[in-house]
Symmetry: C2
Subunit: 243 residues, 2 copies
Protein backbone atom coordinates (compact mmCIF):
# COMPACT_ATOMS: atom_id res chain seq x y z
CA UNK A 1 0.00 0.00 0.00
CA UNK A 2 1.46 3.33 -1.09
CA UNK A 3 0.07 6.70 -0.19
CA UNK A 4 -0.03 9.04 -3.18
CA UNK A 5 -1.58 12.18 -1.71
CA UNK A 6 -2.59 13.60 1.63
CA UNK A 7 -5.06 16.35 2.50
CA UNK A 8 -6.19 17.71 5.87
CA UNK A 9 -9.89 18.63 5.52
CA UNK A 10 -11.49 21.53 7.37
CA UNK A 11 -13.10 19.24 9.94
CA UNK A 12 -9.68 17.84 10.82
CA UNK A 13 -10.20 14.59 8.92
CA UNK A 14 -7.09 13.34 7.09
CA UNK A 15 -7.90 12.15 3.55
CA UNK A 16 -5.20 10.04 1.92
CA UNK A 17 -5.28 8.50 -1.53
CA UNK A 18 -3.35 5.30 -1.96
CA UNK A 19 -2.65 2.50 -4.38
CA UNK A 20 -2.66 -1.15 -3.47
CA UNK A 21 -0.82 -2.71 -6.37
CA UNK A 22 -2.81 -1.29 -9.28
CA UNK A 23 -5.94 -0.58 -7.27
CA UNK A 24 -6.58 3.04 -6.27
CA UNK A 25 -8.20 3.73 -2.91
CA UNK A 26 -8.90 6.42 -0.34
CA UNK A 27 -8.49 6.38 3.43
CA UNK A 28 -10.12 8.84 5.82
CA UNK A 29 -8.99 9.03 9.45
CA UNK A 30 -10.34 11.22 12.26
CA UNK A 31 -8.40 14.37 13.17
CA UNK A 32 -7.67 13.17 16.67
CA UNK A 33 -7.85 9.65 17.99
CA UNK A 34 -6.23 8.48 21.20
CA UNK A 35 -6.66 4.75 20.57
CA UNK A 36 -6.70 2.55 17.45
CA UNK A 37 -10.00 3.24 15.67
CA UNK A 38 -12.65 0.95 14.23
CA UNK A 39 -12.73 0.88 10.43
CA UNK A 40 -15.61 1.08 7.97
CA UNK A 41 -15.10 -0.19 4.43
CA UNK A 42 -17.25 1.97 2.17
CA UNK A 43 -18.66 0.13 -0.82
CA UNK A 44 -19.98 1.79 -3.98
CA UNK A 45 -21.09 0.83 -7.50
CA UNK A 46 -17.73 1.66 -9.07
CA UNK A 47 -16.12 4.89 -10.29
CA UNK A 48 -14.22 6.41 -7.38
CA UNK A 49 -13.74 9.87 -8.96
CA UNK A 50 -17.42 10.36 -9.60
CA UNK A 51 -18.48 8.86 -6.27
CA UNK A 52 -15.84 10.77 -4.30
CA UNK A 53 -18.04 13.56 -2.88
CA UNK A 54 -20.71 11.16 -1.59
CA UNK A 55 -18.18 8.66 -0.21
CA UNK A 56 -16.19 11.44 1.48
CA UNK A 57 -19.41 12.78 3.01
CA UNK A 58 -20.16 9.42 4.59
CA UNK A 59 -16.56 8.88 5.69
CA UNK A 60 -16.33 12.32 7.32
CA UNK A 61 -19.62 11.72 9.12
CA UNK A 62 -18.22 8.48 10.58
CA UNK A 63 -14.89 10.13 11.45
CA UNK A 64 -16.22 13.34 13.03
CA UNK A 65 -19.33 11.85 14.65
CA UNK A 66 -17.94 8.54 15.85
CA UNK A 67 -14.15 8.60 15.58
CA UNK A 68 -14.09 5.82 12.99
CA UNK A 69 -11.64 5.47 10.11
CA UNK A 70 -13.15 4.71 6.69
CA UNK A 71 -11.66 3.46 3.46
CA UNK A 72 -12.68 2.49 -0.05
CA UNK A 73 -11.04 0.98 -3.13
CA UNK A 74 -11.94 1.08 -6.81
CA UNK A 75 -13.90 -1.89 -8.18
CA UNK A 76 -12.45 -4.17 -10.88
CA UNK A 77 -13.33 -2.79 -14.31
CA UNK A 78 -14.40 0.64 -13.01
CA UNK A 79 -12.88 4.11 -12.92
CA UNK A 80 -9.28 4.11 -14.10
CA UNK A 81 -8.95 0.32 -13.90
CA UNK A 82 -8.91 -1.79 -17.10
CA UNK A 83 -12.34 -2.69 -18.42
CA UNK A 84 -13.45 -6.32 -18.61
CA UNK A 85 -14.75 -7.17 -22.08
CA UNK A 86 -17.07 -9.83 -20.61
CA UNK A 87 -18.53 -7.38 -18.08
CA UNK A 88 -19.06 -4.70 -20.74
CA UNK A 89 -20.83 -7.30 -22.88
CA UNK A 90 -23.02 -8.38 -19.95
CA UNK A 91 -23.85 -4.76 -19.12
CA UNK A 92 -25.03 -4.18 -22.69
CA UNK A 93 -27.01 -7.43 -22.66
CA UNK A 94 -28.65 -6.41 -19.38
CA UNK A 95 -29.73 -3.03 -20.77
CA UNK A 96 -31.19 -4.64 -23.89
CA UNK A 97 -32.96 -7.42 -21.95
CA UNK A 98 -34.50 -4.94 -19.52
CA UNK A 99 -35.64 -2.64 -22.34
CA UNK A 100 -37.26 -5.65 -24.03
CA UNK A 101 -38.78 -6.88 -20.76
CA UNK A 102 -36.88 -10.19 -20.98
CA UNK A 103 -35.61 -12.25 -18.01
CA UNK A 104 -32.20 -11.13 -16.79
CA UNK A 105 -31.13 -13.85 -14.31
CA UNK A 106 -28.45 -15.42 -16.48
CA UNK A 107 -27.07 -12.01 -17.49
CA UNK A 108 -26.93 -10.87 -13.85
CA UNK A 109 -24.92 -14.02 -13.07
CA UNK A 110 -22.47 -13.18 -15.88
CA UNK A 111 -22.19 -9.58 -14.73
CA UNK A 112 -22.10 -9.87 -10.94
CA UNK A 113 -20.52 -13.22 -10.05
CA UNK A 114 -17.13 -12.50 -11.69
CA UNK A 115 -17.18 -9.04 -10.07
CA UNK A 116 -17.74 -10.58 -6.64
CA UNK A 117 -15.06 -13.23 -7.26
CA UNK A 118 -12.51 -10.58 -8.16
CA UNK A 119 -13.51 -7.75 -5.81
CA UNK A 120 -13.83 -9.60 -2.51
CA UNK A 121 -10.19 -10.78 -2.34
CA UNK A 122 -9.17 -7.21 -3.20
CA UNK A 123 -11.20 -5.80 -0.30
CA UNK A 124 -9.62 -8.44 1.93
CA UNK A 125 -6.13 -7.45 0.77
CA UNK A 126 -7.01 -3.81 1.44
CA UNK A 127 -8.14 -4.86 4.91
CA UNK A 128 -4.79 -6.57 5.56
CA UNK A 129 -2.97 -3.37 4.58
CA UNK A 130 -5.30 -0.97 6.40
CA UNK A 131 -5.30 -2.91 9.66
CA UNK A 132 -1.49 -2.92 9.67
CA UNK A 133 -1.42 0.90 9.72
CA UNK A 134 -0.78 2.56 13.08
CA UNK A 135 -3.98 3.96 14.58
CA UNK A 136 -6.39 1.60 12.82
CA UNK A 137 -7.42 -1.31 14.97
CA UNK A 138 -10.87 -2.56 13.97
CA UNK A 139 -13.44 -3.94 14.48
CA UNK A 140 -14.48 -3.60 10.84
CA UNK A 141 -17.83 -2.79 9.26
CA UNK A 142 -18.81 -2.86 5.59
CA UNK A 143 -21.14 -0.13 4.39
CA UNK A 144 -22.61 0.33 0.99
CA UNK A 145 -23.38 -0.64 -2.47
CA UNK A 146 -23.05 -3.69 -4.67
CA UNK A 147 -24.96 -5.74 -2.12
CA UNK A 148 -23.59 -8.99 -3.57
CA UNK A 149 -20.05 -7.95 -2.58
CA UNK A 150 -21.36 -7.10 0.90
CA UNK A 151 -23.00 -10.51 1.22
CA UNK A 152 -19.87 -12.40 0.18
CA UNK A 153 -17.67 -10.30 2.51
CA UNK A 154 -20.11 -10.87 5.38
CA UNK A 155 -19.86 -14.63 4.85
CA UNK A 156 -16.19 -14.96 3.91
CA UNK A 157 -14.40 -12.32 5.98
CA UNK A 158 -14.50 -12.88 9.76
CA UNK A 159 -12.98 -9.47 10.46
CA UNK A 160 -16.17 -7.81 9.14
CA UNK A 161 -18.49 -7.85 12.17
CA UNK A 162 -21.40 -5.70 10.94
CA UNK A 163 -22.71 -4.61 7.54
CA UNK A 164 -24.92 -1.79 6.34
CA UNK A 165 -26.18 -2.68 2.88
CA UNK A 166 -28.12 -0.87 0.16
CA UNK A 167 -30.87 -3.10 -1.18
CA UNK A 168 -30.39 -3.88 -4.86
CA UNK A 169 -32.25 -6.13 -7.24
CA UNK A 170 -29.52 -7.55 -9.40
CA UNK A 171 -28.46 -10.32 -7.07
CA UNK A 172 -27.40 -13.66 -8.57
CA UNK A 173 -29.23 -16.72 -7.25
CA UNK A 174 -25.97 -18.08 -5.81
CA UNK A 175 -25.51 -14.92 -3.74
CA UNK A 176 -29.13 -15.12 -2.59
CA UNK A 177 -28.38 -18.60 -1.26
CA UNK A 178 -25.20 -17.30 0.38
CA UNK A 179 -27.29 -14.68 2.20
CA UNK A 180 -28.81 -17.46 4.32
CA UNK A 181 -25.34 -18.07 5.77
CA UNK A 182 -24.83 -14.44 6.88
CA UNK A 183 -24.93 -14.23 10.68
CA UNK A 184 -23.46 -10.78 11.48
CA UNK A 185 -25.78 -7.88 12.39
CA UNK A 186 -27.22 -6.21 9.28
CA UNK A 187 -28.74 -2.82 8.54
CA UNK A 188 -30.39 -2.78 5.11
CA UNK A 189 -31.50 0.44 3.41
CA UNK A 190 -34.28 0.22 0.82
CA UNK A 191 -35.61 3.12 -1.24
CA UNK A 192 -39.28 2.12 -1.32
CA UNK A 193 -40.11 4.21 -4.41
CA UNK A 194 -36.94 3.35 -6.34
CA UNK A 195 -38.23 2.60 -9.82
CA UNK A 196 -34.98 0.98 -10.89
CA UNK A 197 -35.21 -1.53 -8.06
CA UNK A 198 -37.34 -4.67 -7.79
CA UNK A 199 -38.83 -4.12 -4.34
CA UNK A 200 -40.04 -7.68 -3.91
CA UNK A 201 -36.60 -9.07 -4.76
CA UNK A 202 -35.09 -6.76 -2.14
CA UNK A 203 -37.61 -7.88 0.50
CA UNK A 204 -36.97 -11.54 -0.37
CA UNK A 205 -33.22 -11.03 0.06
CA UNK A 206 -33.75 -9.32 3.42
CA UNK A 207 -35.91 -12.25 4.48
CA UNK A 208 -33.22 -14.73 3.42
CA UNK A 209 -30.45 -13.28 5.60
CA UNK A 210 -29.64 -15.65 8.44
CA UNK A 211 -28.68 -12.91 10.91
CA UNK A 212 -30.39 -12.84 14.28
CA UNK A 213 -30.16 -9.03 14.27
CA UNK A 214 -31.23 -7.56 10.95
CA UNK A 215 -33.10 -4.32 10.32
CA UNK A 216 -34.69 -3.05 7.13
CA UNK A 217 -35.11 0.71 6.83
CA UNK A 218 -37.35 1.61 3.90
CA UNK A 219 -37.68 5.27 2.95
CA UNK A 220 -39.04 7.48 0.21
CA UNK A 221 -37.02 9.75 -2.07
CA UNK A 222 -36.24 7.68 -5.15
CA UNK A 223 -33.06 5.84 -6.10
CA UNK A 224 -30.56 8.49 -5.02
CA UNK A 225 -32.76 10.29 -2.47
CA UNK A 226 -31.80 8.48 0.75
CA UNK A 227 -32.93 10.94 3.45
CA UNK A 228 -30.27 12.40 5.76
CA UNK A 229 -31.94 10.84 8.79
CA UNK A 230 -31.53 7.39 7.20
CA UNK A 231 -27.78 8.00 7.01
CA UNK A 232 -27.86 8.96 10.69
CA UNK A 233 -29.65 5.73 11.60
CA UNK A 234 -27.07 3.72 9.65
CA UNK A 235 -24.20 5.49 11.39
CA UNK A 236 -25.76 4.71 14.78
CA UNK A 237 -26.01 1.04 13.72
CA UNK A 238 -22.24 1.02 13.23
CA UNK A 239 -21.71 2.93 16.48
CA UNK A 240 -23.60 0.16 18.31
CA UNK A 241 -21.53 -2.62 16.79
CA UNK A 242 -18.05 -1.13 16.30
CA UNK A 243 -17.61 1.15 19.33
Amino acid sequence: MQFTSEKRLDDGVLEREFTLGEIPGILWTPGSASAPTPLILIGHPGGLRMMHPRLAGRARHYAVGYGFAAATIELPGSGERPRSAAAEQARGDLRRAMAAGQPVGEIVDRLVLPLVEKAVPEWQAALDALLSLPGIGGPVGYSGGVISIGVRLAVAEPRVVAAGLFAGSFVPRAIFEEARRVTIPLHVLLQWDDEGNDRQAALDLFDAFGSEEKSLHANMGGHTGVPAFAGEDAARFFARHLS
Copy 2:
Protein backbone atom coordinates in the same frame (compact mmCIF):
# COMPACT_ATOMS: atom_id res chain seq x y z
CA MET B 1 -60.76 16.26 32.88
CA GLN B 2 -60.14 15.46 36.51
CA PHE B 3 -56.83 14.40 37.98
CA THR B 4 -57.23 11.49 40.40
CA SER B 5 -53.64 10.81 41.44
CA GLU B 6 -50.22 12.35 41.11
CA LYS B 7 -46.76 10.79 41.45
CA ARG B 8 -43.30 12.26 40.98
CA LEU B 9 -41.09 9.53 39.47
CA ASP B 10 -37.37 9.19 40.26
CA ASP B 11 -36.38 10.74 36.92
CA GLY B 12 -38.39 13.84 37.80
CA VAL B 13 -41.29 12.97 35.47
CA LEU B 14 -44.72 13.79 36.87
CA GLU B 15 -47.23 10.96 36.30
CA ARG B 16 -50.86 11.92 36.77
CA GLU B 17 -53.88 9.68 36.37
CA PHE B 18 -57.08 11.37 35.24
CA THR B 19 -60.61 10.71 34.13
CA LEU B 20 -62.23 12.35 31.16
CA GLY B 21 -65.91 11.70 31.82
CA GLU B 22 -65.84 7.93 32.34
CA ILE B 23 -62.58 7.36 30.48
CA PRO B 24 -59.45 6.77 32.56
CA GLY B 25 -56.16 8.15 31.31
CA ILE B 26 -52.57 8.93 32.29
CA LEU B 27 -50.47 12.02 31.63
CA TRP B 28 -46.68 12.18 31.93
CA THR B 29 -44.92 15.56 31.91
CA PRO B 30 -41.18 16.28 32.07
CA GLY B 31 -39.70 17.30 35.41
CA SER B 32 -38.63 20.68 34.15
CA ALA B 33 -39.85 22.50 31.07
CA SER B 34 -39.39 26.18 30.44
CA ALA B 35 -41.82 26.43 27.51
CA PRO B 36 -45.06 24.64 26.56
CA THR B 37 -44.07 21.13 25.48
CA PRO B 38 -45.00 19.04 22.46
CA LEU B 39 -47.35 16.15 23.25
CA ILE B 40 -47.30 12.51 22.20
CA LEU B 41 -50.50 10.49 22.38
CA ILE B 42 -49.50 6.93 23.21
CA GLY B 43 -51.77 4.31 21.68
CA HIS B 44 -52.05 0.70 22.85
CA PRO B 45 -54.22 -2.37 22.28
CA GLY B 46 -56.42 -1.74 25.34
CA GLY B 47 -56.02 -2.49 29.04
CA LEU B 48 -54.24 0.44 30.67
CA ARG B 49 -53.38 -1.35 33.93
CA MET B 50 -51.64 -4.21 32.19
CA MET B 51 -49.96 -1.95 29.62
CA HIS B 52 -48.91 0.64 32.22
CA PRO B 53 -45.21 -0.38 32.62
CA ARG B 54 -44.55 -0.40 28.87
CA LEU B 55 -46.48 2.83 28.25
CA ALA B 56 -44.76 4.57 31.16
CA GLY B 57 -41.39 3.43 29.82
CA ARG B 58 -42.06 5.04 26.46
CA ALA B 59 -43.52 8.18 28.03
CA ARG B 60 -40.55 8.65 30.37
CA HIS B 61 -38.15 8.16 27.46
CA TYR B 62 -39.91 10.96 25.56
CA ALA B 63 -40.04 13.19 28.66
CA VAL B 64 -36.47 12.74 29.85
CA GLY B 65 -34.80 12.46 26.45
CA TYR B 66 -36.75 15.07 24.54
CA GLY B 67 -38.80 17.15 27.01
CA PHE B 68 -42.11 15.96 25.53
CA ALA B 69 -45.33 15.37 27.45
CA ALA B 70 -47.14 12.10 26.75
CA ALA B 71 -50.64 10.89 27.48
CA THR B 72 -52.88 7.91 26.94
CA ILE B 73 -56.51 6.96 27.54
CA GLU B 74 -58.27 3.62 27.92
CA LEU B 75 -59.92 2.20 24.80
CA PRO B 76 -63.69 1.64 24.61
CA GLY B 77 -64.54 -1.84 25.92
CA SER B 78 -61.13 -2.40 27.54
CA GLY B 79 -59.74 -2.31 31.09
CA GLU B 80 -62.30 -1.03 33.54
CA ARG B 81 -64.62 0.32 30.86
CA PRO B 82 -67.88 -1.51 30.04
CA ARG B 83 -67.52 -4.37 27.58
CA SER B 84 -69.27 -4.22 24.20
CA ALA B 85 -71.25 -7.41 23.55
CA ALA B 86 -70.81 -7.01 19.79
CA ALA B 87 -67.04 -6.62 20.15
CA GLU B 88 -66.78 -9.64 22.46
CA GLN B 89 -68.78 -11.64 19.92
CA ALA B 90 -66.51 -10.49 17.08
CA ARG B 91 -63.40 -11.30 19.10
CA GLY B 92 -64.65 -14.85 19.63
CA ASP B 93 -65.60 -15.20 15.97
CA LEU B 94 -62.13 -14.00 14.96
CA ARG B 95 -60.41 -16.57 17.17
CA ARG B 96 -62.57 -19.37 15.78
CA ALA B 97 -62.17 -18.27 12.16
CA MET B 98 -58.39 -18.03 12.52
CA ALA B 99 -58.17 -21.43 14.20
CA ALA B 100 -60.22 -22.89 11.34
CA GLY B 101 -58.18 -21.06 8.71
CA GLN B 102 -61.26 -19.23 7.43
CA PRO B 103 -61.32 -15.69 5.95
CA VAL B 104 -61.59 -12.97 8.61
CA GLY B 105 -62.25 -9.77 6.64
CA GLU B 106 -65.89 -9.36 7.62
CA ILE B 107 -65.15 -10.16 11.27
CA VAL B 108 -62.27 -7.64 11.35
CA ASP B 109 -64.70 -5.02 10.04
CA ARG B 110 -67.19 -5.86 12.83
CA LEU B 111 -64.43 -5.75 15.46
CA VAL B 112 -62.30 -2.79 14.40
CA LEU B 113 -64.59 -0.28 12.64
CA PRO B 114 -66.88 0.37 15.66
CA LEU B 115 -63.77 0.66 17.84
CA VAL B 116 -62.29 3.29 15.52
CA GLU B 117 -65.64 5.14 15.33
CA LYS B 118 -65.86 5.33 19.09
CA ALA B 119 -62.22 5.74 20.07
CA VAL B 120 -61.12 8.50 17.69
CA PRO B 121 -63.57 11.16 19.02
CA GLU B 122 -62.46 10.19 22.53
CA TRP B 123 -58.80 10.77 21.67
CA GLN B 124 -59.81 14.09 20.12
CA ALA B 125 -61.70 15.08 23.28
CA ALA B 126 -58.63 14.11 25.32
CA LEU B 127 -56.55 16.28 23.02
CA ASP B 128 -58.88 19.25 23.66
CA ALA B 129 -58.47 18.79 27.40
CA LEU B 130 -54.71 18.11 27.35
CA LEU B 131 -53.87 21.08 25.13
CA SER B 132 -55.80 23.38 27.46
CA LEU B 133 -53.48 22.47 30.36
CA PRO B 134 -50.74 24.95 31.22
CA GLY B 135 -47.36 23.76 29.99
CA ILE B 136 -48.65 21.59 27.12
CA GLY B 137 -48.56 23.36 23.80
CA GLY B 138 -48.16 20.85 20.98
CA PRO B 139 -47.41 20.01 18.24
CA VAL B 140 -48.94 16.57 18.70
CA GLY B 141 -47.74 13.15 17.62
CA TYR B 142 -49.54 9.82 17.82
CA SER B 143 -47.47 6.78 18.73
CA GLY B 144 -48.60 3.23 19.03
CA GLY B 145 -50.87 0.34 18.59
CA VAL B 146 -54.23 -0.32 16.94
CA ILE B 147 -52.93 1.02 13.67
CA SER B 148 -56.50 1.63 12.41
CA ILE B 149 -57.02 4.25 15.13
CA GLY B 150 -53.72 5.84 14.15
CA VAL B 151 -54.74 5.97 10.49
CA ARG B 152 -58.09 7.59 11.25
CA LEU B 153 -56.51 10.12 13.63
CA ALA B 154 -53.85 10.96 11.03
CA VAL B 155 -56.58 11.69 8.47
CA ALA B 156 -59.21 13.30 10.71
CA GLU B 157 -57.25 15.26 13.31
CA PRO B 158 -55.19 18.16 11.94
CA ARG B 159 -53.47 18.73 15.29
CA VAL B 160 -51.67 15.38 14.88
CA VAL B 161 -48.66 16.25 12.71
CA ALA B 162 -46.64 13.00 12.84
CA ALA B 163 -47.43 9.38 13.64
CA GLY B 164 -45.35 6.41 14.70
CA LEU B 165 -47.37 3.26 14.04
CA PHE B 166 -46.97 -0.44 14.84
CA ALA B 167 -47.76 -2.53 11.79
CA GLY B 168 -50.74 -4.80 12.35
CA SER B 169 -52.63 -7.14 10.09
CA PHE B 170 -56.22 -6.73 11.21
CA VAL B 171 -56.99 -3.61 9.23
CA PRO B 172 -60.46 -3.22 7.70
CA ARG B 173 -60.57 -2.55 3.98
CA ALA B 174 -62.17 0.86 4.62
CA ILE B 175 -59.20 1.88 6.79
CA PHE B 176 -56.79 0.60 4.15
CA GLU B 177 -58.46 2.97 1.67
CA GLU B 178 -58.27 5.80 4.22
CA ALA B 179 -54.51 5.21 4.48
CA ARG B 180 -54.10 6.60 0.97
CA ARG B 181 -55.31 9.96 2.31
CA VAL B 182 -52.71 10.16 5.09
CA THR B 183 -50.18 12.90 4.30
CA ILE B 184 -48.36 13.49 7.60
CA PRO B 185 -44.86 12.02 8.17
CA LEU B 186 -45.05 8.37 9.27
CA HIS B 187 -42.70 6.02 11.04
CA VAL B 188 -43.93 2.42 10.87
CA LEU B 189 -42.46 -0.37 13.00
CA LEU B 190 -42.80 -3.93 11.74
CA GLN B 191 -41.62 -7.04 13.57
CA TRP B 192 -40.42 -9.06 10.59
CA ASP B 193 -40.65 -12.42 12.38
CA ASP B 194 -43.97 -11.74 14.14
CA GLU B 195 -45.90 -14.96 13.59
CA GLY B 196 -49.20 -13.38 14.62
CA ASN B 197 -48.85 -10.73 11.93
CA ASP B 198 -49.51 -11.00 8.19
CA ARG B 199 -46.31 -9.44 6.90
CA GLN B 200 -47.57 -8.93 3.36
CA ALA B 201 -50.68 -7.11 4.62
CA ALA B 202 -48.45 -4.83 6.70
CA LEU B 203 -46.22 -4.09 3.68
CA ASP B 204 -49.29 -3.40 1.52
CA LEU B 205 -50.61 -0.94 4.09
CA PHE B 206 -47.25 0.83 4.27
CA ASP B 207 -47.27 1.07 0.49
CA ALA B 208 -50.78 2.56 0.53
CA PHE B 209 -49.95 5.49 2.82
CA GLY B 210 -50.04 8.76 0.86
CA SER B 211 -47.36 10.47 2.94
CA GLU B 212 -44.37 11.93 1.15
CA GLU B 213 -42.20 11.07 4.16
CA LYS B 214 -42.80 7.54 5.39
CA SER B 215 -40.29 5.11 6.83
CA LEU B 216 -40.67 1.41 7.55
CA HIS B 217 -38.36 -0.06 10.18
CA ALA B 218 -38.49 -3.84 10.18
CA ASN B 219 -36.70 -5.70 12.96
CA MET B 220 -36.37 -9.17 14.43
CA GLY B 221 -37.42 -10.26 17.91
CA GLY B 222 -40.97 -11.57 17.55
CA HIS B 223 -44.28 -9.87 18.34
CA THR B 224 -43.26 -8.22 21.62
CA GLY B 225 -39.52 -8.12 21.03
CA VAL B 226 -39.10 -4.65 19.52
CA PRO B 227 -35.37 -3.95 20.04
CA ALA B 228 -34.40 -0.98 22.24
CA PHE B 229 -32.63 0.70 19.31
CA ALA B 230 -35.91 0.65 17.34
CA GLY B 231 -37.56 2.62 20.16
CA GLU B 232 -34.68 5.10 19.96
CA ASP B 233 -35.15 5.53 16.21
CA ALA B 234 -38.88 6.15 16.75
CA ALA B 235 -38.19 8.74 19.44
CA ARG B 236 -35.81 10.56 17.10
CA PHE B 237 -38.53 10.57 14.44
CA PHE B 238 -40.76 12.48 16.84
CA ALA B 239 -37.87 14.74 17.84
CA ARG B 240 -37.46 15.69 14.17
CA HIS B 241 -41.13 16.51 13.71
CA LEU B 242 -42.26 17.88 17.08
CA SER B 243 -39.24 19.81 18.36
